[in-house]
């Protein structure tokens, strides 16, 4: 019997991409004074739009607008009124959800199934959640009279463009801060669509400012003397540069950086469920996930059986058009990222690990990398130590729970971990010992606005989500 899939493309008609985009400053779209750049569709390399670059003067203008809005309007506004603006934004996101999902998939390369069923629902939920905090800050257990910090400079990555925007903007605004946010240069379009949503919500000018550009624009923002808070999600390398740049200033800092999560499978784990969790852990969003389960630690006695089942499952993954509703793995976000993945995968082979990928035809144009697994990986290998940020899984084995803990924690990172076992007490025993900010048990890559997220060690500091997420934006 033949089980071929027919194409099931999501319509692009819901989105309307303009040929060029300016900066969103003080409630208006304005020109940028740096050299404009192009945002492309990573699935076919088509140019989507030309995007303005904010130079130092543009950044300055945005920070001043945010300061005015904070001092005159947003800071003094009662929490219940701020709440109503955020509820409006949440509703507008819900109303325009499909449009934003399609736009996200076009600009980022992620499968529509993920942008539609994961990113967008979480974006709306995040605004709803923090809208509810805006008039309850005194109940958050952070002190009797928490005050906003002022102006927040926020720089976000390209892997979950609109979701990371929501994680940054929703708590900042709920707490009475105003923001200047820079989206990643490869994925600016949903942030610019969000600027329109701010206008539809009648959000006062200057409360949210969106500036676009590459690393220089981001640097100008975080180094600007007029901001009170820096929030960054991205690579550990850039995070360290930012930590150095705010040293000696009164700026507050939160960082959500890289990871090299261990996904630990014990011999009593339900193997089919574990296989689903492993696949979700590393191939979700093409592995462009800071908390991806990129190191599989499997108990030796079940390693062969598990790997056999994992390979069978990987053969069914569909790689291709992000807008096809059957697609499991979409396009790599950029040529640069694809090059980095290739380089590290090459290093995996050179250092002696065994590489395997299912047969799968990749499209001719665009940036693609087949789901890949490396076995026989040693802890010293680069693919066991460095964040690949792609659909590449490194498999290691262990014999005892103590060895699993030792190996899981043998990394400078500490963002997340997974544990698979039928034994509840062992889950909790492992959770106590894993040096990671999030531990998923018998599941993986679960996110909720009510649940704090963030890392230990070089995965950064500060938490986003939940009651804890408020602390990053309040003087308590």
């Amino acid at each position: 019997m033949n089980f071929e899939y027919a194409p099931a493309p999501e319509s692009r008609d819901v989105v309307d991409i303009r040929p060029s985009y300016g900066l969103f400053v003080d409630g208006e779209f304005t020109d940028g004074h740096g050299e404009p750049f192009k945002s492309i569709n990573p699935a076919n390399e088509d140019v989507l739009a030309e995007i303005a670059t904010a130079d130092q003067a543009d950044v300055d203008r945005a920070v001043k607008a945010a300061r005015r809005a904070h001092d005159k309007v947003w800071g003094p506004m009662p929490g219940r009124e701020r709440a109503k603006y955020l509820f409006r934004i949440a509703r507008l996101v819900q109303e325009r959800s499909r449009e934003l999902a399609v736009l996200e998939s076009i600009d980022n390369g992620k499968p529509i199934r993920e942008s539609r069923d994961v990113d967008l629902p979480l974006v709306a939920a995040h605004f709803f959640y923090y809208a509810g905090w805006a008039d309850k800050l005194g109940h958050a257990g952070l002190g009797p009279d928490p005050r906003p910090l002022g102006v927040a400079g926020q720089v976000i990555p390209w892997n979950f463009p609109l979701l990371m925007l929501a994680w940054k903007i929703a708590p900042a605004l709920a707490c009475g801060n105003t923001v200047v946010l820079k989206p990643a240069e490869t994925t600016p379009l949903t942030a610019l669509a969000f600027a329109e949503i701010c206008r539809q919500a009648d959000l006062p000018p200057g409360v949210v400012n969106i500036i676009t550009g590459a690393g220089d624009t981001g640097r100008a923002l975080v180094e600007h003397a007029g901001i009170d808070k820096v929030a960054f999600t991205g690579s550990t390398e850039v995070g360290k540069q930012i930590a150095r740049s705010v040293a000696g200033t009164p700026k507050r800092l939160t960082l959500e950086l890289g990871g090299k999560a261990a996904n630990v499978i014990f011999d009593d784990a339900p193997l089919d469920q574990a296989v689903e969790g492993i696949v979700n852990g590393i191939f979700f969003n093409q592995g462009h996930v800071c908390c991806a389960g990129s190191r599989l630690l499997v108990q030796e006695s079940v390693a062969d059986e598990l790997l056999e089942r994992l390979k069978i499952r990987m053969r069914t993954l569909r790689v291709g058009d992000p807008l096809d509703k059957n697609t499991d793995v979409g396009a790599i976000n950029s040529a640069a990222q694809l090059e980095k993945i290739r380089e590290l995968a090459g290093a995996g082979e050179q250092e002696g690990a065994t590489r395997w990928a299912p047969d799968c035809a990749l499209p001719q144009r665009g940036f693609w990398f087949a789901p890949t697994v490396f076995t026989g990986v040693a802890q010293s290998h680069r693919i066991a130590r460095e964040e690949i940020f792609g659909p590449v899984l490194s498999v290691l084995t262990f014999r005892t729970p103590a060895e699993a803990v030792e190996k899981a924690n043998n990394t400078p990172y500490g963002l997340s971990a997974g544990v698979w076992t039928e034994k509840g007490s062992r889950i909790l025993w492992m959770a106590e010992r894993l040096r990671a900010g999030v531990v998923w048990a018998n599941t993986f890559n679960k996110f909720d606005p009510a649940s704090p997220f963030g890392g230990y060690k070089e995965s950064g500091f500060g938490r986003e989500g939940g009651r804890h997420g408020l602390e990053a934006y309040l003087n308590v």
């Binding site: 219940r80 709440a83 709803f128 909790l428 025993w429």
Partner: protein
């Protein structure tokens, strides 16, 4: 003035998502502040109380197992629906005797109150629950859960007072049987129309109009009611109601003097919560 003759509304009860008349066939006259006839409100009976409790019990399982996020969305939807009827409620409150500005302020405050409580749905657990550091190899945590069916004797503030007692009871997953203000019951029934169009499952809130002194004791003594809010109970009746409530150890929220326009705290929510503590061993 138009020559057109107005089509008047029949004010009925709100039980299980439907609008039945009282099974007793009784009604009572409701006049405006100047003594002019407004409507005949249904005068609910003991059996209506029992039907309402039955509907509330039936709705409890579904409502309490909704995600907190979903309950929050529905409470926010109630605010949206109420906002769309500002003019209607302002008129009803003026008919009930409020001056124009006071009526507008009360409607606005009532809408904002739903927004306030909507935001609590997915935060109560974080504020009222805890992970408990017990001295042993155990993971131990406490979470708040809804008490069950809450009987509410609503205060006379016909809209703001009503929503200020109903919202905190249902936000956590309780269901409610409410005896509306006796002198000003009409806004409560119009408010039931808001509830009926807000995706709130039928039976989560049931509204009865009638004689408070007749209905409150049946609610207080009903063995399938888990808690009772005496906000609007007459002072002389409170002791007897508390005694009746003791038969199945209902949680009792006594009337507290105060202005319904004051910022609410969390007491009205936590009054109708149980705390569940779970122990689990930690070890390989």
């Amino acid at each position: 003035m138009s020559d057109r003759l107005a089509v008047r509304k029949t004010y009925k009860l709100f039980i299980g998502g439907a609008f039945p008349r009282s099974e007793s066939g009784r009604s009572y006259v409701v006049n405006d502040a100047r003594g002019r006839f407004l409507a005949n409100a249904s005068r609910a009976s003991r059996k209506d109380v029992r039907d309402a409790v039955g509907a509330a019990r039936k709705a409890f399982g579904g409502w309490s197992s909704r995600t907190p996020y979903n309950r929050g969305q529905i409470l926010y939807r109630i605010a949206e629906m109420l906002e769309g009827r500002r003019a209607q409620f302002t008129d009803e409150l003026r008919a009930a005797g409020l001056a124009k500005n006071a009526a507008t302020a009360e409607v606005d405050a009532a809408i904002d109150r739903w927004v306030w409580y909507a935001g609590w749905a997915d935060k109560l657990g974080a504020v009222a629950g805890s992970a408990n550091p017990v001295a042993g190899p155990f993971f131990n945590f406490s979470t708040p859960e809804p008490t069950g069916v809450v009987g509410i004797v609503a205060p006379d503030s016909p809209l703001l007072g009503l929503v200020s007692v109903v919202a905190p009871a249902i936000v956590s997953g309780n269901t409610a049987v409410v005896v509306a203000s006796e002198p000003s019951p009409l806004p409560a029934i119009t408010f039931a129309e808001v509830l009926a169009t807000s995706d709130l499952p039928g039976g989560v809130v049931n509204l009865l109009t009638g004689r408070r002194a007749e209905l409150a004791p049946w609610l207080a003594s009903h063995m399938d009611v888990n808690a009772i809010d005496l906000a609007g109970a007459e002072e002389a009746q409170v002791k007897a109601l508390e005694e009746a409530a003791a038969d199945n150890l209902k949680r009792v929220l006594r009337p507290v003097p105060g202005d319904w326009s004051d910022e609410p705290g969390t007491e009205r929510m936590t009054a109708f919560l149980e705390t569940k503590t779970v122990w689990h061993p930690v070890g390989v």
